[in-house]
Subunit: 320 residues, 2 copies
């Protein structure tokens, strides 16, 4: 799949509503999948979005406020009852494992599939997952308690071969891998053939950043720049800026400023206070500062195709 | 309100589905209200049923399997965020308080409204709540771990006065209370006027029993008899009787037999295994043994009026 697909399972802050669930997202980037935060009810949302539990291999928890992880133990229990065998990797703050183990113990629950906890590094941007195609980093946010953002970046894709030129220069097959990686070719006559003559540029790698429950972090542009999609919390309107500051949250305007500073291609705002029955004013406030702002609409999936490079959305949860 | 109203918030066993939630019910009997079990997502179901959080004063937890209480801490947290002041009473197995406190501690959550835990008595039927109008008892079930059923019974209602007869016998106002309670009247001439001459019979008190997660308990007729409404788990069909036995659950036929033995007026079956996409076979199996069997249909409210005495149902959750 040459795309990034983000399913929005929940965007409510703190208190859920009839039609607004606590934080959870499911990201498919290339062939890798990540459940990001896991508020109460996430397992039902996954089902409603028709995201098979078998696709869950990595769960990332931003911080230990209940609206971001109270759905985790129920999900782990269901996976057990469904006879999961595959290992599961959970990334989160230091105390997450204790929280999970306590709850499992009190219900006499045994998890028999391999469950691996990875403690996130509180002080700096850190690589937490790497495959041939992808890197995932965590980075610290500012929320009163330990809280993390996550950055998902495809690795640079191999260059595409210009077969006509390769044939013309009679380049041996053994050299192709080096040239794909960007090397020039020195022919038997000692002549240098520039890589650009032998290749076509590859597509730019896709990238996504998840920033929730934080005061605006101005230096985020040093963590990521020019990403395709930024999800940034926008719990409040600027009229509630004092409250945002006091509760360690951001306003829609601040989320948009971060998107601007980080040169994001697209911004999704979420984690809305229940005081806002309509989300339109939040979108308007963000869009005034950053044109490509969108509501992270619950029940929808947002996709960016690696070739087309446009943010598209479609309803994925027919129950919501 | 001269009725019993039971809102079915969830009837799934163990694993929730897109359209089936873990156990939770809200009972209004007269002017008293009880939340019975509190599986994951109960707070959202309460909102969808338009049951105001202010009506929650007593929460009864049958046992410490996650599908019966994982929604409790999230609900307590939301009540805190919504600035609840009123005390809350929670009834459950001994370890429930520890489970709740652990989770609150790990999220640095402080509950500032008064939170009272009452440990249920494992060995026998016990009075757990009493008001002028109502008694609530817990009683032990058979589920491998400590597990409780709950019985809600209105107290006998005062007799209705036959005003014509009262006037005829010139009965002093001071005597009315005694006569309402059933006493005869001895007039100044020493004659006894039988209570039945002075009064009309009162309506029979309403009653409800909640029996979930249990093997069939044949002696339940010694705990309650002739109740208006019995909710009994029916996790499996009889074709899965072995599995029911092994997992300490009941079949639909067994639930119906208990209803028969206890001379219940109406039976609601619930707590369905996810293997049953359609619930019709479960209803058919129950109804073959007990005619007044009904599916505890999620999203519906069931009512029995004290005068009319018929079980009625209506859709209450427009989201489900």
């Amino acid at each position: 799949m040459e795309q990034l697909k983000l399913s929005i399972l929940g965007v409510s802050s703190a208190i859920p509503l009839s039609n607004r669930s606590p934080s959870a997202q499911f990201l498919a980037i290339g062939n890798a999948h990540f459940l990001i935060d896991c508020g109460e009810g996430t397992q039902v949302k996954l089902r409603q979005h028709r995201i098979g539990f078998g696709r869950i291999k990595h769960i990332l928890i931003s911080h230990l406020h209940g609206d971001h992880f109270y759905g985790l133990v129920p999900l782990l229990s269901s996976l057990q009852l469904l006879d999961r065998q595959a290992p599961l990797y959970i990334y989160g703050p230091a105390k997450l494992e204790e929280a999970v183990r306590q709850q499992l113990e009190i219900t006499d629950s045994i998890i028999s599939y391999p469950l691996h906890f990875k403690v996130l590094e509180a002080s700096k941007k850190s690589l937490i997952f790497e495959s041939d195609h992808l890197e995932v980093h965590s980075f610290p946010l500012r929320h009163g308690i330990e809280c993390f953002g996550f950055l998902f970046q495809e690795k640079p894709l191999p260059l595409k071969m210009n077969k006509t030129e390769l044939a013309k220069h009679s380049i041996p097959v053994a050299e192709i891998r080096r040239i794909k990686a960007g090397a020039n070719w020195i022919n038997p006559e000692g002549e240098t053939i520039a890589n650009e003559e032998l290749t076509f540029p590859s597509e730019a790698p896709l990238s996504y950043a998840y920033v929730t429950d934080s005061l605006p972090v101005k230096h985020l542009h040093r963590v990521f720049k020019g990403i395709d999609l930024l999800y940034h919390e926008a719990t409040f309107l600027s009229t509630e800026a004092d409250r945002a500051l006091k509760t360690h949250h951001s306003t829609a305007a601040q989320a948009a400023e971060i998107a601007e500073i980080c040169k994001a291609q697209n911004l999704l705002i979420g984690h809305f206070s229940i005081r806002y029955k309509s989300l339109k004013p939040l979108l308007e406030e963000a869009a005034a500062h950053f044109a490509n702002s969108h509501i992270a609409r619950e029940g929808y999936a947002f996709t960016i195709d690696r070739k087309i490079r446009l943010l598209e959305s479609e309803k994925e949860n027919s129950y919501s």
